[in-house]
């Protein structure tokens, strides 16, 4: 098991998992552990010769056993592909997988939060290039989510309204909108901390994946695909990003949140990255090199 150490100054948990030092690091494409197993070749993580979508327990987990789970979600058996290249129908299937994992992992006795995310690109530190995401089922509510839940509760107490619903009211003018349909919106929030940060969110109040009906799922899949295609058109390269799903914690009737997905591409231009440095890491204060209105217009036009 990992060792959880309490950071008394920041009042948050630090997870110590030294065995992760040995995790697989940039294997050759013909030794990819996330590809299906080819006849006559060494067995990969997935023994069958093909698959639609596969999920397995991470071999180098940060949380396992009674602490929680770490899962790998293989989006497709095709190695040279990406989430944005999947059909809308395939992404709808993936949403169903994310829903299923949210429900099952959320039922584990010590799990306090189910976090679905993807790291894409070497610039983000990805060590396996096969299209995949991850799920962490934490034994605590992680700090960013805690902050959001606190802000949401305070706003609800003071106004009776959902904070994120009010953020979306502020997007009615459309100047920061990247994509929109009758159910979902993709926009660069006015408070973006990365030049091309985008949030995608349901326009109606939904607390998480388990709240989505089939029409929500279809719209979510279209907006997600549309955004990722725009990202890859931005510099005509597979844009690195972190995708982070924020939903309500499991099994707590009183805790509300507004489901949304945040994307943080590290690029500030085609060949320049924004690094988290003195102000961001040491003081927690982000300095962003672009206006949300400008980057939204750029993405909208792609």
């Amino acid at each position: 098991l990992s060792e959880l150490r309490w950071h008394p100054l920041l009042e948050e948990w630090v997870t110590v998992a030294p065995w992760r030092q040995d995790r697989t690091y940039h294997p050759a494409a013909d030794h990819c552990p996330l590809c299906p197993t080819k006849p006559g070749h060494l067995e990969t993580e997935i023994p069958e010769p093909d698959y639609h979508i596969a999920v397995f327990e991470n071999r180098f987990p940060s949380f396992t056993g009674e602490q929680g789970r770490c899962e790998v979600v293989c989006y497709t058996s095709v190695h040279d592909s990406s989430l944005g290249e999947q059909s809308v129908e395939h992404i709808q299937d993936l949403i169903e997988v994310w829903r299923d994992r949210t429900e099952e992992l959320g039922r584990l006795p010590n799990v306090r939060y189910v976090y679905i995310f993807e790291n894409r690109g070497e610039a983000i530190g990805v060590t396996l290039s096969h299209p995949h995401g991850q799920i962490y089922a934490y034994p605590f509510v992680p700090p960013v989510i805690q902050h959001e839940l606190r802000a949401h509760s305070r706003h609800k107490r003071e106004t009776g309204r959902c904070l994120y619903c009010d953020v979306l009211v502020g997007e009615r003018g459309g100047e920061r909108t990247v994509l929109r349909d009758e159910r979902w919106i993709a926009f660069v929030p006015p408070f973006a901390r990365w030049p091309y940060e985008v949030h995608i969110a349901p326009l109606r109040h939904r607390t998480g994946l388990l709240d989505l009906d089939p029409k929500d799922g279809e719209s979510f899949a279209r907006i997600l695909k549309g955004l990722l295609q725009k990202y890859d058109r931005l510099y005509d390269l597979p844009l690195p990003y972190v995708m982070a799903m924020h939903q309500k914690p499991p099994g707590r009737g009183g805790v509300d949140h507004h489901f949304h997905v945040e994307f943080y591409p590290p690029n500030r231009s085609r060949d320049k990255l924004k690094y988290l440095a003195g102000s961001e890491l040491g003081a927690g204060a982000f300095i962003v090199d672009a206006r949300a209105e400008d980057t939204a217009a750029e993405l909208r036009g792609l």
Partner: protein
Amino acid sequence: MRLSNRVVEKPDGRYLIYYERSAGPVLPVLSHKA
């Protein structure tokens, strides 16, 4: 449910879940192509 799943135990005790398209028809609202 659009998908069915099949859970397999790996030799080291970890689980692997295959999600596959269900044999039944996909609901009309979900059936059109990208």
